[in-house]
């Protein structure tokens, strides 16, 4: 039991011929039969799937290649990126304000922000999108006037103001604000109260404390879930297709409604969605590395774990 573990110099001192002989024996490699079996099965399944996709007379891969960089598709990709970036920006900016309101001493702000989050998390985002798109049915004109007089500062037809683009921004952005508010609030609460007290004792005002001490620390905790939200946003932006905004999905739908190559064009869209998600994932890693620079005590530990994992893999 202990003989194989003890270093050889101690074995000599033990003066047992058998243990010396055991220590000299080469180590047998473990067989890992289970791993081999599962790997073979997965490879077989993957091969079958690839064959089903490529060898299928109903799937024309040339069509996929032809439309991958089609101008209509590229325009859809551009619009999807624009919508994702702008909606997420609204979500982060508005979410920060909502989070601060929820943590404020002012009960009106707290209740207001709480109600907003409750409402927008409660209504499906698809319903919100359709609602904004059809706002003109309820309020045909959007106008700002001075109450009690007939003077109007401005007045505009709702259908002219709420274009599909604006409806998508409102629907996705306002919905995202509610989720980002909770993520940011969690990050702010994760900063120990001693940090705020230390900043206060140095004479910092609450706003200075937030900017210099609390937010920079909270951001680290906020980045991973925010990246997650951004990736989700990229994909739910496809909902814009129901209100005729020309995002990536709408663009491929326009094409396949004419040529009836539905699956090929959905594959084109999927390739773009996966590519964009990959870019976002790399962006997240880069951002985390940048923000984690000062957490130097953590980095060497991580590197050690990684090195050990690699080392373990190499030995096997």
């Amino acid at each position: 039991m202990t003989t194989t573990e003890a270093p050889p110099d101690q074995l000599g001192a033990r003066a047992s011929g058998k243990s010396v002989r055991d220590a000299a024996l080469p180590q047998a490699r473990p067989l890992h039969l289970g791993r081999w079996a599962i790997s073979l099965m997965l490879i077989a399944l993957l091969a079958l799937f690839i064959r089903a996709m490529t060898d299928n007379p109903n799937l024309d891969w040339d069509i996929v290649g032809k439309y991958l960089f089609d101008p209509t598709v590229l325009n859809g990709v551009k619009n999807t990126i624009v919508i994702t970036v702008l909606s997420q920006a609204i979500g982060i900016g508005g979410g920060l304000l909502l989070a601060l309101a929820r943590l404020s001493h002012n009960p009106v702000l707290r209740v207001g922000a709480g109600s907003y989050i409750w409402f927008f998390r409660g209504v499906p985002v698809l319903v919100q999108l359709i609602f904004w798109f059809n706002l003109g049915l309820v309020f045909p004109m959007l106008s700002l006037g001075i109450p009690g007089t007939s003077a109007q500062l401005f007045s505009v037809s709702t259908n002219a103001a709420i274009t599909p683009f604006v409806a998508v921004l409102l629907g996705l952005g306002l919905n995202e604000m509610a989720y980002m508010a909770e993520i940011i609030r969690g990050g702010l609460l994760g900063v120990p109260s001693g940090q705020r007290e230390a900043a206060a004792s140095l004479g910092m005002t609450p706003l200075q404390t937030l900017r210099k001490v609390v937010l920079p620390q909270a951001v680290r905790m906020i980045i991973p879930p925010t990246s997650n939200q951004t990736i989700i946003m990229l994909k739910i932006s496809a909902l814009a297709s129901v209100i005729t905004y020309q995002d990536l999905l709408t663009s491929v739908q326009l094409i396949y409604s004419v040529n009836l190559r539905t699956l090929e064009l959905l594959i084109v869209a999927s390739i773009w969605y996966v590519a964009l998600t990959t870019v976002l994932t790399f962006g997240q890693s880069a951002l985390e590395r940048r923000m984690g620079r000062s957490l130097v005590t953590v980095t060497p530990v991580r590197r050690n774990v990684a090195a050990r994992l690699i080392g373990m893999g190499a030995r096997r």
Binding site: L202, G203, S294, L295
Partner: protein, 261 residues
Amino acid sequence: MTPKVEIIDLHKAFGSVEVLKGIDLEVHPREVVTLLGPSGSGKSTLLRCVNQLEKATNGLIYIDGVLQGRVEQRGKLHELGPHGVARQRLGTGMVFQQFNLFPHMTALENVVTSQRVVLGRSRSAADERAKAVLARVGLADRMSNYPGQLSGGQQQRVAIARALAMDPSLMLFDEPTSALDPELVGEVLAVIRELAHDGMTMIVVTHEIGFAREISDRVVFMDAGCIVESGPPQQVIGAPQESRTRAFLARHAAGDRAVPT
């Protein structure tokens, strides 16, 4: 002479628990006052009230003759807003048991940031001041380290430097060595001792009886939210009059370090 700090009938309750039950205390310029007492006696709360980290339930605190946390307007006392409170804290430095350094900044940035943000000092002026105070606490060679790379004793010395860089005329120490490994206590006490010799007005909450005896002009013994006994260290520590003080000192003399609160 105006007292540096004047505390009049201070009460503090957390919900129904009364932590301070009417504290009267004066601290004079250049005086070093140590607060001793068992855990839960209200020493830390008293210190935090002085710096307005806790709002007193009742009572008055004056620093340099200025009422803290409230302002008189048209014959009535009004609560001071957050900006007014921030301004009142300017002359007072505080050192915490858990150091509370900003982990995302180097030691130098920890000391520089508040000078820039609060006092509006230029980059070079703040840098120069920070380097001077860091050298004073013996950390000239650790300025570019992050708190996570420093020992507890070094972190606490950076925290002291950070407070000193704001040029306070009053320093509050809230159990500055209670979170430290025994072998690191000495280096922090040495810095505080030097400050005392330089004539800084200080209120120190500590469990280090020997240190309190050495640096204090006056020792205040607290128990259950009241001041039990107060006077020069040779009297309060050397010849305590009250039985509660004697019991506390006997426990500590037996090497029974109180659990830090």
